[in-house]
């Protein structure tokens, strides 16, 4: 079995109007090479589910997003994403704004093939007012408590970035926090991963390596080799986030054409060269919080 695909192979398996979940968290371990490939494509009217960072900003800047399902969009050290702000303030997209935990609950419901999961989160806030499609449910037990019925967030596709994979889609995430990538993979009909390193199964490190296998290969449809694929977001322990690039990216909200010409309309290999080369990326220090 060989699931290796090119960036363009992955894009050819996506279609207009799809609901796409993006793994990672803020400016951390985002599948940016796949996101840039979507930006270069003709795809449109996407619904994006994300713990948002520059993935959301770039897709907004390229008018790919019809609807965003999110709890936040942030670049970590730079608290706000300028492209997302601009799109929101110009009224360019629909939003389903949720608590971070509700996003997880929606993915988990989808992962378990349930239509919803109950929670108290949302009560007393405008999250319920602004999302009238979210219904309430009463406990059938003696307590009779009313809960928010967080609907399943069913994904057509999940896009994730991992440290290592073999050709069969046995992936490994070495960063200390795997975030909610597993839930995205389980909530999706198809999951495509980009990987820093693609190895033979023998190169996965046996039992020690298998501890970092966060979800099983049957969930993975395709694997794209993308060294530096999370740049400018971080990919612990390989590299940190590129603050200088994130500043350039943020400033580009005012005049996007230059940034686009320099970094977007090129292959992933050329992109890595444009931002300083693979050695440079792999030497970006991990951030301290």
């Amino acid at each position: 079995m060989n699931k290796i695909l090119s960036h363009s192979d992955v894009i050819s398996q996506l279609s207009d109007g799809m609901t796409i979940g993006v793994g990672g968290w803020g400016a951390r371990r985002k599948p940016m090479s796949l996101i840039r490939a979507i930006c270069q494509s003709d795809l449109k009217d996407l619904t994006i589910v994300s713990y948002g960072g520059p993935d959301v900003g770039l897709l907004c800047a390229h008018r790919k997003v019809k609807k965003l399902i999110f709890g936040f969009v942030s670049l970590d050290m730079i608290p706000l994403d300028s492209h997302f702000r601009q799109a929101r303030q110009n009224g360019e997209l629909e939003v389903m704004e949720l608590d971070e935990g509700m996003v997880q609950w929606g993915l988990r419901a989808a992962a378990m093939k349930l239509s919803f999961l109950p929670t108290r989160v949302g009560f007393g806030t405008d999250v319920l007012k602004n999302n009238p499609e979210i219904k309430l449910i009463t406990s059938p037990y003696a307590d009779g408590e009313q809960y928010v019925a967080m609907p399943a967030l069913n994904l057509d596709v999940a896009l994730l970035h991992v440290n290592k994979s073999d050709q069969k889609g046995n992936t490994q995430i070495f960063g200390p926090d795997p975030f909610f990538d597993e839930m995205f993979a389980r909530a999706a009909n198809k999951t495509y991963v980009s990987a820093e390193e693609v190895v033979e199964t023998e190169g996965l490190g046996g039992k020690e390596g298998a501890i970092f296998n966060r979800f099983e290969r049957s969930l993975v449809t395709g694997v794209t080799h993308a060294p530096g694929g999370a740049h400018p977001t971080s990919c612990a322990p390989n590299y940190g986030f590129d603050m200088e690039h994130l500043k350039t990216y943020s400033a580009a909200a005012k005049s996007f054409e230059d940034y686009n010409d320099k970094y977007l309309n090129i292959s992933h290999t050329d992109y890595i060269e444009a931002v300083g080369g693979e050695t440079f990326v792999n030497n970006i220090p991990l951030p301290q919080f």
Binding site: F72, L80, V121, G124, T125, K129, N130, P176, F289
Partner: protein, 251 residues
């Protein structure tokens, strides 16, 4: 030493008291002043607190602000984001946060300014506020106490619920302490009204009333307790030796 006490040091010390009686709860201070304050609490009034390195690991000693030699961190446990949710839904956390707006009901906003369907200013999004405020104790730090932060009426997008929540079984949040650049408050006035507990040096009651967009109760107008020599030493030499706190008030 006491002659040169700064506003940031007064706020950090006042904020640290919020965690005094929390036992082993996870103390999460989000932002410079709350984070230094949580560290100070662990080094003074409550050594039992759990605390993270700002990322994935629980540490035994609060970390200094700014660059450090991470090999010196004493790591005692694991706290991925997934585990943070499990912890907070179980009520095992006390966070201190800085909302962009807060109203007389204790409702907080970090989502956007203006109408949510077409915001004038897009901020972060509600983040974890809905889950935090319904699940566990929270305190609040506001560096710019004004009628733009303490707003008249209701906040623009209710992100954290307030004391006006009518939902029967989760009707009241637990907002423990509110520390601002002007004074120290809580929501334990009549019918959960915001009440003044102490005023920082050089601030008048009139300053506070003028800069708050709603009526508050005055429980006490005594001066905020200043940091002790021990607290000043811990802030200046252990928790924030590079003085990152000074940026908050331009000190």
């Amino acid at each position: 030493m006491a002659d040169s006490i700064s506003l940031s040091e007064i706020c950090i010390t006042a904020a640290s008291k919020a965690w005094k009686d929390d036992g082993e709860l996870l103390a999460t201070g989000i932002g410079l002043i709350p984070r230094i304050a949580a560290g100070l609490a662990k080094l003074t009034c409550n050594p039992d607190l759990m605390m993270t390195d700002g990322e994935t690991f629980l540490i035994s000693k609060p970390l200094p602000m700014g660059k450090r030699d991470a090999s010196e961190d004493l790591i005692e446990g694991y706290m991925s984001y997934s585990r943070v949710f499990e912890n907070l839904w179980g009520g095992q956390r006390h966070a201190m946060v800085t909302p962009t707006q807060i109203d007389s009901f204790g409702q907080t906003n970090i989502s956007c300014i203006g109408d949510h369907s077409n915001p004038k200013v897009q901020l972060l999004g509600v983040r974890g506020f809905p889950g935090n405020f319904i699940s566990h104790r929270n305190s609040i730090f506001i560096p710019n106490h004004s009628i733009k932060t303490f707003v008249e009426g209701e906040v623009d997008m209710v992100s954290g619920m307030g004391y006006n929540n009518q939902h029967a079984l989760a009707s009241k949040p637990d907002i423990f302490s509110v520390v601002t650049n002007l004074g120290v408050f809580d929501f334990n006035g009549p019918d959960h009204q915001l009440q003044l507990l102490s005023i920082h040096p050089g601030v008048s009651i009139e300053d506070i009333i003028e800069n708050t967009g709603f009526n508050i109760a005055i429980k006490s107008d005594e001066e905020t307790t200043l940091p002790s020599d021990e607290e000043l030493t811990l802030i200046r030499e252990v928790l924030d030796p590079m003085g990152t706190r000074k940026i908050i008030f331009g000190e």
